[in-house]
Assembly symmetry: D2
Homo-oligomer: 136 residues x 4
């Protein structure tokens, strides 16, 4: 319930000449997984951004790379809310394949009033669907 | 005068596991070169987009890859206006290194009224700095 | 049978400040679709590359962008073999959403002997699963 | 001497629909800056990888995003060695523009024996040019 699992497949463009997936690619996968998490819980992100003029910005990102991912490999990105505070929301991520932990990441988001260009508290519609959970 | 030469260096992230630069990376280089071309000629792209609400969209892109580029290689992206019509502007590109042609590309742009979401004729400030030239 | 349909969802990272998906992103989608095509037909691309030392390089790419794709939109990338010659293989692509053609592309591939670094004829295992078809 | 400053210009492709540079782009900039650091100190990375079969992998990455970067902005990526241990090498990065700190990052690398696929101690040629310094 409180964790979303988002499956991705590593593409050829995602490889580098060392023969594994480049470390920058995971950042895209984490974001995809967070968007899948919010979509599953009915959060209308586009509505938030376009009509309420609230943006979501990454404030901090910590990633630990344990084992590589290779071309064409399918991996599961687990994502859940690690911490919810007044002005920040931390998503925790774990990439796993066949029972092995490959990568872990914490990404802390802040909300922005897009017109006034300043941080605001996390709005209620996000708080409602982002209660912290124990994770994976 | 009528050609801008934009130097880029291939990054590690730009490689793929075949050991050369991935074909998608060149698309970024062509765009960088076009932006350098417009900047050199005093076109305020941000002004166009934010204040006049005119956007520039890619309508067509043709690329011919002749020889590969490798990690850490510096190459020159030549860019010039190939064709200017009422409603479209074609930039031609040639990537070269040590006298060898590596890649050629034609990218045709259209201008968009961002509020009405429809194509418009190329605005005068672009026409002024984008007269076609014979190329390289 | 002869066309593969590969569904993708546009990510936030794929947008640009004009509010639509950047034209470079489609290049990744076309490649993903081609890999899905080959996978469906049992082609072991990794085997080709690692054991037989045959690489696949993009020689030409033509893309026509008709209508934009926006964040979180799901679109279908149709891919089929447009032309098969001794030394080249052209895949045709069409991106579609709700019955509307959004994008069309032709991508011509060549095969490379990775050790001798030169073009070779398309190997039999690719020829077998890449007979041209009428497309979409 | 012990810090390298690598200037980058934010591209249009690097923006997202919130109007600023997407957080994943910085990961590429940090890598570019590290490669500039090593190049300046005479390290032949290609030689290390191809001839000595030693690869460099990112083991951990921590990024703190303080202020956004916008399209066409030029920023300076400062990079220096934060910590050097037997089996790991931490680069510290700071992105700055007009005297303002925009972003900070720590990226910890490990070295890999590419044939045996296991971590090895940092080789001497890297140790020689990567003594820790106080940073910026």
């Amino acid at each position: 319930m409180s964790t979303t699992v988002h499956r991705v497949r590593a593409g050829y463009v995602d490889t580098d000449q060392s023969g594994v997936i480049h470390h920058s690619v995971y950042v895209r996968w984490f974001e995809e997984a967070r968007n899948a998490f919010l979509r599953e819980r009915g959060l209308n992100f586009v509505d938030l951004e376009h009509h309420r003029r609230i943006g979501v910005a990454v404030a901090q990102m910590n990633v630990r790379y344990r084992r590589p991912v290779v071309f064409d490999q399918e991996v599961d990105v687990h994502v859940w809310v690690g911490q919810l505070k007044n002005a920040s929301l931390r998503f925790d991520h774990m990439i796993e394949s066949e029972g092995m932990r490959l990568t872990e990441a914490e990404v802390t988001l802040a909300c922005i009033d897009l017109d006034r260009k300043r941080a605001i508290r996390i709005p209620d519609e996000i708080v409602r669907c982002c209660q912290p959970s124990a994770g994976t």
